[in-house]
Symmetry: C2
Subunit: 582 residues, 2 copies
Amino acid sequence: MKKIKDFLIKNNFDYFLLPNSDEFFSEYLPQNQKRIEFICGFNGSNATIVFGQKKSYFFTDGRYILQAKQQLNLNEFEIINIAEKSLISWLKDNVDKTQNLALDPKLLSKNFIEECESFLSKITFLQKNPIDEIWIDKPIIKASPVFSCPLNLVGENFQQKKSKILDGFLSDAIFISKPENLNWLLNIRSADIEFTPLFLGQALVFKDGKLVIFGDDERFKNIDLHNVEIIPKEKFEEYFKNFSAQNFLIQIDKKTTNYWVCEVFEKNNIKYYNKNCPIEISKAIKNSQEIIGAKKSHYQDAIALLKFLFWLDDAQKKQQIISEISASEKLLELRQKSDHFLYPSFETISGFEANGAIIHYRSTTSTNKEFLGNSLYLFDSGGQYFGNDFCGTTDVTRTIAIGVPSTEMIEDYTRVLKGHIALARIKFPRGTSGSQLDILARSHLWNVGKNYDHGTGHGVGSFLSVHEGPCSISKNSHQALQVGMILSNEPGFYQEGEYGIRLENLMLVTEFDEKFLCFETLTLAPFDFSLIDFKMLTYPEKKWLADYHQNILRTIGEELNYQELSWFISKFNQAPISSFNL
Amino acid sequence: MKKIKDFLIKNNFDYFLLPNSDEFFSEYLPQNQKRIEFICGFNGSNATIVFGQKKSYFFTDGRYILQAKQQLNLNEFEIINIAEKSLISWLKDNVDKTQNLALDPKLLSKNFIEECESFLSKITFLQKNPIDEIWIDKPIIKASPVFSCPLNLVGENFQQKKSKILDGFLSDAIFISKPENLNWLLNIRSADIEFTPLFLGQALVFKDGKLVIFGDDERFKNIDLHNVEIIPKEKFEEYFKNFSAQNFLIQIDKKTTNYWVCEVFEKNNIKYYNKNCPIEISKAIKNSQEIIGAKKSHYQDAIALLKFLFWLDDAQKKQQIISEISASEKLLELRQKSDHFLYPSFETISGFEANGAIIHYRSTTSTNKEFLGNSLYLFDSGGQYFGNDFCGTTDVTRTIAIGVPSTEMIEDYTRVLKGHIALARIKFPRGTSGSQLDILARSHLWNVGKNYDHGTGHGVGSFLSVHEGPCSISKNSHQALQVGMILSNEPGFYQEGEYGIRLENLMLVTEFDEKFLCFETLTLAPFDFSLIDFKMLTYPEKKWLADYHQNILRTIGEELNYQELSWFISKFNQAPISSFNL
């Protein structure tokens, strides 16, 4: 910290703004990009620091306030909840026109910096990030090779995908700023970050079909790419030097393109304009092979989930002590039994009791709770699956009673479940967006003055990011849902300091009839019937539950051993059937 | 029509664009502004004509296509449904850069013309409207006096309202383009148009509190207005001549300010910028006196509605023949029994059988149906109430079985009712907008592949327009609902050629607790229990229905005679109570 202050003073900067990101704004950062963790020890995902000569300001959201308080030196940092004061509004109020703000133009989007420029007059764009100067033992990352996903897994080849993207295209080229979009377009993957099988790189697609990747040639040596040129990343600036004479026009997405890239374009008199990357929507609409991959991945996931739930129940009966960490290890071990399982699609959330109420909880040896007493256990996990015959990404959350649940827990669980079922059952006209559907998952909680402070659903990639745009189910999501999109359905309820509930399945948007669409639930994992007050369910809700559990049994029954099967039938089949006769 | 074509040819105009509006974009037009009705006989509300030298194009929405076909000379006009081809997109495709489009700058908004200017290069702004030149016997309208609404009716005086509007205000003045906003601000009303008690005028509020009305001095002679100057409308241009030297900045709303006004500002070097008029939101949030007025108006309305429903039922029993027109006359006669009733708040929709499926149906002697056979009768009506002690505006729709309803009618009615109840019962966090709630009224229809092609709810004025912004309940309504807003709740279902169903109550947004809001239903009119399949209702829905009808009885029971009372109790009280015991 002293070195950063010295840097500010020496250069006469009032502030240095550092976001927790890399040049691609990836959800998960490579080890050598975790500058915030290096400088202050904070290892949550959402953080921005504004370093000052005396005091520094740490911005994060409600999920991480507690963690920040524990991990930061509070003499150095003031922690600010962005729900109470956004970074932009803080800058407006605290940085005056005479003050000099320094930042790294590679780590911030064109959009964000344009907004800053609208009210700040002195911004210095640094050539080198000062953290990198201090970070002497920065890990050196050995780049993995890039590999191809065969056509029987991804359903469409590069040429087919490219022609869709370039259809009706007007400028000279599109700059592909998001690695996910490039990986999808080229049907390539790699291992540059945890949880998502990405090659981190950007590219330019020309209207004549030529593609230029900015990356390391060596990494592509096993891949046969026609009409593709690879330019070393270091030569990015140089590459654009001869463009100016051609009156060249590039389409970019300002939200996901870093400021430095735009600077390079401007220096070379390359014109550019802002538009959503056309890959976003194509990538979101899964083709039939991708849908098969999603279903097969969920089949594999379901076996592990069912065996895990049996193991949990059995361990309770045998009074074995389980902890958050041992449970998540067991779940990983069961997933690993599938030869298609690569690794988790995000860091598993495994939270008992009050820890379950922390929305993005990460269990550590110091927070790890043993499952003692009467409360709830929430686990949110998923896998990246990849093999010869299919690939896909899963994401599922279940909440399980440990001991005897209270009436309040049962009522809350049932309300969350009613919301989950309402969304799963809805039929909706084409053109409907997630913002219209969101309330279905919330109204049963709202009617008793309760709510949850996160979106109801996010898009999910196909052996790609577990969180994927542009579709989602939340208040502000105006993208129309289309056949082939995969979204999560994950309402929750969190009683702070006591317990958390979240019930998450993935759903595929499918056609109901000429005018209407509906969801097909992909996730196959039983709900905890001991947490359901069946009197609170309507007949159609009970019918949905019965059908859902019968479908699990029909689909993965043959993968279960005798013990597991009889446990499933006694627990999830008998009980609802009798309830359904109500 | 020949005269218009001659006008085009003589002036070398390719097209003349005429919207069905006046300079204020009023929902109802004064007789001397009904240019479209004069020139072609069409008397619906939504219409725009693009006159050409040979052929002319008539743009309207789905509600009016049939009517346009009946009323227009089809040799002269091509009718275009704006849902299939919007006016803007038609202009883009059909008017090329060499062609000259003429229009009346007073009848179109700045917003609309700016959009046209972005793709049309030759627009001629006419000094005089050519229709007015032809329209020799144009009705001369004797202006009514403007009257004041006393403070005990409107709750806040002009000064209080003005200081709210000017709070934090930055420019030199606000131009009030919408007459509703001016009437609300000054607590004045008049009788310039049908159904809405408006003085049609505009004004300028200066930041020092001074107000200038553009209108006829004579009309204000009975009113005591402090710090208000009245400038004759004809002197509008002249008035602004001496502003340029002062570097004057005016806030306008481009959606509701006609182009000609902006031209006047520009000619005089007056700067202006676009922002929503701050009166909009203040007007939408009713104060306690306005809420009392709304409730008392609904009380008066409820007496008429209940007596009307009794009369309808009684006439059916006695096998008297009723028609759409005789029914709406009876309803008007019953409303007129209240000494506070002024006139209907819009043209009553009274539609039997297939006419009920025409969303904005207007019964004429040629379309009037007698109530014969088994079908549904839909009536949508409301009143403007004004007296010494209260004023207010109502709007209500009920659908009644005539004869024996079919199973399909009952199921459709019950689904519409379930949607109505879901919206009426919801509790929602502060900040929630109508777009989030809309699906509550639709999901029971969607789940059987049905829908309705209109919004679910609109804002309602306080002794002002029955349709009032900025709040509404529909897919695209992102205005957060706030305590004191009054909105309609009117889902429907229309089986074309057979029957229409709509169930409309007005609701007041009220506080549920610190975090949550809810609706209080204002309308007091029974639903038709013979159209409800009680087996399709959940317990909370039945409970809501029972409470609603008990509240009607408790509130207006004493206004009913013995016959009406026993009819009500037998029909709406006994039946649900037994059903509710399910």
